[in-house]
């Protein structure tokens, strides 16, 4: 009917007009689109072309998102034509525009995942979402509300490659006002992310992620943190052979304690594992725990390198508690060869004596080459960047009113060293006003007056642009 066509023309015109600047997008277009009936986004103009084709995913990303969102929601099973548009959209959309529609972006992502799950082809959603998140982020380290969804989807699909580049960028930017992330998003992302890394057998990063989830500030540990803790215990055993933190989750703690005792044999660790097998299976941590037992053999072998220069394969097998029959020896020889391959041990095996003799060698890498140099330089650069971020954060927090109020109440709030950070680290100039130490004033009333005066000064300073001081 022509009146419908007319209204589509109107809608398209409005979208095109408002998409030119962000204020128009958020102040005008947003409310306008929110008021439209959902079906508008689904229907085609009568008999004619699809209204969505009049829009450009790149220039009208905000509105395009609405169209895709409602269409994905309404589609039962997936439609290649729709997926083609989704793919083009995520690859070309304007990050700035979609950032202002973060809740719609999440709904879109959820609809996409639902479509993929319903048609039992999760990869349909994963690759587009990974790309979409990277466009949604203002910086590579920014947490969005889509992060936990992608991580969970990858885990369920056991297809983790696409999310690795995202995971590898540590979260350094959490801005609830802008991105609408909440505490739970942070916990879940790091919990799921840790599981992805564990699945990829990157236990170092897995431990880091679980630790981030566990150590997030909270008055009461959330269920997510408890599960993250359990996995952290096991992945820490795998990575470092040691317990991470004491207490909580008794069975895991006990397993970790006995694991740590070097004197224990492989057989006893195995039996400890069997004792808590039920709990592990219930928590879905049995796979991880089994890997711990295998890793235990490797650790014991590594310990031997400290004491011995050479040892027969048979003796090694006996020593680590695997027995002295030929099968055990063959098994151990295989473990050693794998360790040599992985570089976790430096050794060679000789069969000049029956049964095989293992000679433990020194690390042939003398760390005196450019590879080591490059590594050091990279680490220094990283540390420099993080220091810069810290100083910025410190400045921001220190000039916040809440900070001053705490000072008023506490009095002894300031640590002795004050907040002056050494500037000119690595040649960078970072100006910073040192805080006068409140504790030096013995008169409480004067303290309060001083504090409120400082507060007013700080407010005044906040209004002017801060200039770094040269020192």
């Amino acid at each position: 009917m022509s009146s419908n066509d007319h209204s589509y023309d109107e809608i398209i015109a409005k979208i095109v007009a408002c998409s030119t600047d962000l204020t128009a997008v958020t102040k005008t277009l947003g409310p306008y689109l929110n008021n439209l009936n959902e079906n508008i986004f689904l229907a085609r103009a009568h008999g004619q072309s699809d209204p969505i084709d009049a829009l450009s995913p790149e220039h009208h990303s905000f509105a395009y998102l609405y169209f895709l969102l409602y269409r994905c929601k309404a589609s039962h099973g997936f439609h290649p034509a729709l997926m083609e548009k989704v793919w083009a959209f995520v690859n070309t959309c304007d990050g700035e525009q979609v950032r202002h529609a973060s809740e719609k972006a999440l709904s879109f992502a959820e609809a996409l995942v639902k479509t993929a799950t319903e048609s039992q082809q999760p990869i349909i959603a994963i690759r587009p979402l990974a790309i979409f998140i990277q466009r949604l982020q203002a910086t590579p380290g920014q947490l969005t509300i889509l992060h936990p969804l992608l991580a969970k989807t990858c885990l369920l699909a056991q297809a983790c490659k696409d999310i690795l580049p995202i995971l590898d960028n540590d979260i350094s930017d959490v801005d609830p006002k802008l991105t609408h992330v909440n505490y739970r998003d942070f916990l879940l992302y790091h919990y799921y992310g840790g599981m992805v890394y564990a699945y990829q057998k990157n236990f170092e990063r897995a431990v880091e992620f679980f630790r981030l989830a566990v150590s997030a500030p909270a008055e009461v540990a959330s269920a997510i943190q408890i599960e993250a803790y359990k996995k952290m215990v096991l992945t820490n055993l795998l990575q470092n052979g040691r317990r991470a933190v004491k207490s909580h989750c008794q069975p895991y703690s006990e397993f970790a304690s006995s694991y740590e005792k070097k004197a224990n044999s492989a057989a006893s660790i195995r039996s400890d594992l069997d004792k808590i097998k039920g709990i592990l299976v219930r928590d879905r941590n049995y796979g991880l725990a089994k890997q711990c037992v295998e890793a235990f053999h490797r650790r014991k072998i590594q310990d031997l390198t400290r004491t011995y220069l050479t040892l027969s394969v048979e003796d090694i097998a006996t020593n680590i508690g695997l027995g002295s029959d030929p099968e055990a020896a063959k098994h151990v020889e295989g473990i050693i060869v794998k360790m040599i391959q992985a570089g976790t041990i430096f050794a060679t095996i000789s069969h000049e004596h029956a049964g095989g003799m293992v000679s433990f060698l020194d690390d042939p890498n003398h760390h005196d080459n450019t590879i080591t140099m490059d590594m050091i330089n990279t680490q220094i650069q990283k540390a420099t960047e993080i220091t810069a971020k810290f100083v910025k954060m410190d400045q921001t927090i220190s000039s916040m009113p809440q900070f001053f109020n705490k000072g008023q109440q506490g009095g002894s709030f300031m640590p002795e060293r004050g907040f002056s950070l050494e500037d000119s680290d690595y040649g960078m100039q970072m100006g910073y006003e040192a805080y006068p130490d409140e504790a030096t004033s013995s008169n409480p009333k004067r303290q309060r007056i001083k504090a409120s005066q400082r507060k007013r000064d700080a407010q005044a300073r906040e209004d002017e642009p801060e200039e770094p001081e040269e020192q």
Binding site: W87, A159, S359, T370, E422
Partner: protein
């Protein structure tokens, strides 16, 4: 970034012909997505799964292989003959990683199965890559090893193993003891650090030490 499926296939063929096997993986991964989500039925999916799985095995990326095998629909696993064999090869390699099973079975299976002209070159590369990997490892780990141990890791017959390894890899063989002496792998030539680089590093360290003293 948004290449058509046809263009991707072309690139994959080209990479295959010029032996640039590492490039195959990202190409086929993107194709898997596109053919599953957008250009459905443009080719049967096993035309993508087969070279992709083979490429993962050549690169010895068993994690990605595992992921892929789990994604492949069951009907396809039994219907597509080449795919069926490749999945068996993957399972055997996985067992091998866990130190059970016999590598000879892998070679036998690869050799005895029928491969179409598209996949045959990749299979040849796979066979070589498995063998080379094992031999490199043996050379790294052993100063001497019994002949039968080496023979069990390669696709060659035991009576020709010693000869071949001597000829192609410079290993030594002592018939009286039955032991092979692998040639040790070359140490990678790393450039030693120059004085100027050291100077910069020393500056940074000195700076840190000053900071530490003053805080």
């Amino acid at each position: 970034m948004a290449l058509t499926s046809a263009a991707l296939f072309e690139q994959a063929d080209h990479a295959l012909q010029t032996g640039r096997y590492q490039e195959l993986i990202p190409l086929y991964e993107q194709l898997e997505f596109q053919v599953t989500a957008i250009d459905i039925d443009v080719v049967p999916l096993n035309n993508i799964f087969e070279p992709l799985l083979t490429s993962y095995l050549i690169a010895h990326d068993l994690q990605s292989a595992r992921s892929l095998v789990q994604r492949i629909p069951d009907e396809l696993k039994t219907q597509a003959q080449q795919l069926h064999v490749l999945i068996q090869v993957y399972e055997m390699l996985r067992q091998w990683e866990r130190q059970s099973g016999d590598l000879k079975d892998v070679y036998r299976l690869l050799h005895q199965s029928r491969w179409n002209s598209a996949l045959a070159p990749l299979i040849a590369v796979l066979q070589d890559s498995i063998q080379d990997r094992e031999l490199d490892l043996l050379a790294k780990a052993y100063t001497s090893l019994p002949l039968h141990l080496a023979a069990s890791r390669v696709s060659l017959e035991e009576d020709t193993v010693a000869e071949q390894l001597m000829a192609t890899r410079g290993w030594r063989y002592d018939a009286s003891t039955g032991l092979l002496y692998p040639k040790a792998p070359d140490a990678t030539g790393n450039r030693a650090i120059g004085l100027q680089e050291f100077g910069k590093l020393a500056d940074v360290v000195a700076h840190l030490e000053v900071r530490q003293e003053s805080s």
